[in-house]
């Protein structure tokens, strides 16, 4: 058993899953925003990066790691809510490219500001968990306590979000205002407040992903979420952009495929792996793997 766990194959499985859960988290956050406001938030990764910088800078003042995590997530959520109110609200009812352009601009501002304030050199945060692989009977098992923390936290957040949307009154209101805003408004749901709450929750999920990424070997730098955003967008698109479960599954698929292309084909073509998957999925099922209805908005 331990020989199997320490095989190269399992190394890739664990590596792919660890990366995949991050993609799943960011993809989930994209889907939450997409469902509520039909905006693809191109600044999602940059917003999370910025919040992580603000939170993690507190380490320099002697604040403990876990407090910094909490600060990052709270700042991220506040940023998400403010973004919806200030940048997105004026654009409801405008052509769908307008919010895209604004969020691309916001992405540029955040990355340039982060580089201006904290420099563009990578900051490594001494994470609270060891990255050294476990050993079992003298064999390396390709899991470290950090990887386990990463996977457990991500799954925990996903379950929390699923519970929130499924079993709470707030979740019901959020789903109702995404599905039928007019009817919800008539029934007494404060739809515009729900949209803001959707953005806040989404930004919170994104910030947790950014905190995990910053705490790992990848580190924190102004553009550290660019590649993750692209992979997560592909994950969300593969899942259909409408489906939270699809986003999570898409994230895991992208993480694993990327890892296996890297290991068994060529690291040179690895940057293309996401596009290849997206093209194949879109050719076969343009509406995504997990979307039930196929109607198109005209």
């Amino acid at each position: 058993m331990s020989a199997f766990l320490s095989s190269a194959f399992m190394h890739n499985i664990f590596g792919g899953l660890a990366q995949g859960v991050i993609y799943s988290l960011v993809a989930l956050s994209l889907v939450i925003i997409w469902q509520s406001t039909h905006v693809l938030n191109f600044a999602q990764g940059a917003m999370a990066m910025f919040a992580t910088y603000i939170g993690m800078s507190e380490i320099d003042r002697g604040v403990g790691y876990w407090w910094c995590v909490i600060i990052s997530v709270v700042v991220g959520m506040a940023l998400g809510g403010a973004t919806e109110r200030v940048l997105i609200r004026p654009l409801y009812g405008k052509p769908e490219i307008n919010p895209i352009v604004v969020m691309v601009g916001f992405l540029g501002v955040l990355e340039a500001l982060a580089a201006a304030i904290w420099t563009s050199t990578t900051r490594n945060i001494t994470e609270p968990f060891s990255q050294i692989y476990f050993q079992s009977n003298g064999h390396l098992v390709f899991l470290s306590s950090f990887v386990i923390f990463q996977i457990v936290l991500a799954i925990g957040i996903m379950l929390f979000m699923a519970g929130l949307f499924r079993f709470t009154k707030l979740g019901l209101q959020l789903r109702a205002s995404a599905l039928a805003p007019e009817v919800s408004r008539l029934l007494g749901v404060r739809v515009s407040r729900m949209l803001t709450i959707g953005w806040i929750l989404s930004a919170g999920v994104g910030s947790i992903a950014a905190v995990i990424i910053a705490s790992g070997s990848f580190g924190l730098f102004p553009t550290n979420m660019d590649g993750i955003f692209v992979a997560s967008f592909i994950a969300a698109a593969v899942g259909g952009l409408e489906s939270p479960i699809g986003a999570v599954a898409g994230g895991l698929i992208i993480g694993l495929v990327e890892q296996f292309i890297l290991a068994y084909w060529s690291p040179n073509v690895a940057p293309l792996s996401g596009i290849i998957i997206l093209v194949i999925v879109l050719m076969i099922r343009p509406q995504g793997l997990f979307t039930k209805h196929t109607t198109r908005r005209v």
Binding site: I97, G105, F106, A112, I234, P271, G274
Partner: protein, 357 residues
């Protein structure tokens, strides 16, 4: 030759030819006045204006948006660079044509799955493409030269042109200006082609698809072919602009085409005015001035240009401008000029289709 007929304008082309020709000649005259440094900045602006025009056509006339045009620029630049590296004697025109063709083909490859998509999907897909181009160029070192890139021979000034220059640094000045003039003429040709395309049958079909795709389909417009065509033309323009830009820099290397270049292109297009020729010209002019502009802002605000803030000032300014323009003046600087133009108009104004922005 039916494809040519569909690209050619149905209306008279004389006024447009005259307009583009006058602007080109005016710009050429300006290059004679400007110092060599400004000449090369202007040449860079001309190259970028070509790319902006392609993007503007895609966004303004077909309603699609691309964050991948920095990637198409890279494809065109590498196609031209690799060819020129092995066949140094090829005339420049053929190298440019190659960049246009390869750029267009790369656009076609991205367009085929993407035209089933709309808005956000397409933007994300093109973003994924331009994010992949830089690492690919870095990885395939044997073809692309990796991080260092490919060095290009700078242009040779023809003898008759060099005669205009004398005194100190005559050869250098002549070369800077010859390069700038070449870039301006290339941009002029590209603008003339696009001016015709705007008013051609394809252009009108494109507008119909943008405004109401169901109606367009009912009238017999092939939606996916029209959208694909818009995308291919946009990518071909980006390919030409990228090749020209790299020629001016005398190198093709990955760091010329970062993801942020796509944001810059988008900013310049939106600032100038989406879907117009003059908007692309304005965008190119702003690009030429951007280095000076940023230096000016730095000195006005007392920011040290070598500090972190100073080095990232351009990104901050461009991002803020993009957001503000989109929120408050989505039609760009061109819309500021419209009331001015009315003052000088003697004929009754032609009714123009409502722009959807």
């Amino acid at each position: 030759m039916s494809w040519w007929k569909s690209l050619r304008s149905q209306e008279t082309t004389h006024s447009r030819l005259l307009g583009v020709l006058l602007l080109t000649l005016l710009t050429l005259a300006i290059t004679f006045i400007l110092p060599p440094v400004a000449d090369s900045e202007l040449a860079g602006g001309a190259a970028i204006a070509i790319v902006i025009l392609g993007l503007s056509w895609l966004t303004g006339w077909s309603g699609q948006i691309s964050l991948g045009n920095s990637g198409f620029m890279a494809v065109g630049a590498y196609a031209a660079g690799i060819w020129a590296h092995h066949h140094a004697t090829t005339p420049l025109v053929f190298t440019f044509v190659l960049a246009i063709i390869i750029g267009g083909i790369s656009g076609l490859i991205i367009a085929i799955p993407s035209t089933r998509l709309h808005g956000p999907y397409l933007a994300g897909m093109t973003l994924a493409f331009s994010a992949a181009v830089t690492p690919l160029a870095q990885n395939f070192t044997s073809v692309t030269g990796g991080e260092g890139g490919i060095f290009l021979n700078s242009l040779v000034t023809p003898k008759w042109f060099a005669h205009f220059f004398s005194g100190q640094n005559a050869a250098i000045n002549a070369n800077a200006q010859w390069t700038a003039d070449l870039a301006v003429v290339t941009a002029g040709v590209a603008f003339f082609f696009m001016a015709n395309l705007f008013h051609s049958r394809s252009g009108r079909a494109m507008r119909l698809v943008r405004d109401n795709d169901v109606a367009a389909e009912l009238m017999g417009v092939n939606l996916s072919r029209t959208r694909t065509m818009a995308f291919v033309v946009s990518a071909a323009f980006a390919g030409l602009g990228g090749a020209l830009y790299s020629l001016l820099e005398a190198t093709v290397r990955p760091e010329t085409f970062p993801l942020t270049l796509s944001i810059t292109l988008l900013t310049l297009m939106v600032l100038g005015g989406i879907g117009t020729l003059s908007g692309a010209v304005i965008g190119g002019i702003i690009f030429s001035f951007s280095a000076n502009l940023v230096a000016h802002v730095n000195s006005l605000t007392g920011v040290n240009p070598t500090s972190n803030l100073g080095a990232n000032m351009q990104g901050i300014i461009f991002g803020v401008l993009l957001i503000l323009t989109m929120l408050f003046a989505p039609r760009g600087l061109v819309s500021v000029a419209t009331p001015l133009r009315r003052l000088f108009r003697t004929r009754p104004q032609k009714t123009q289709p409502e722009q959807v922005h």
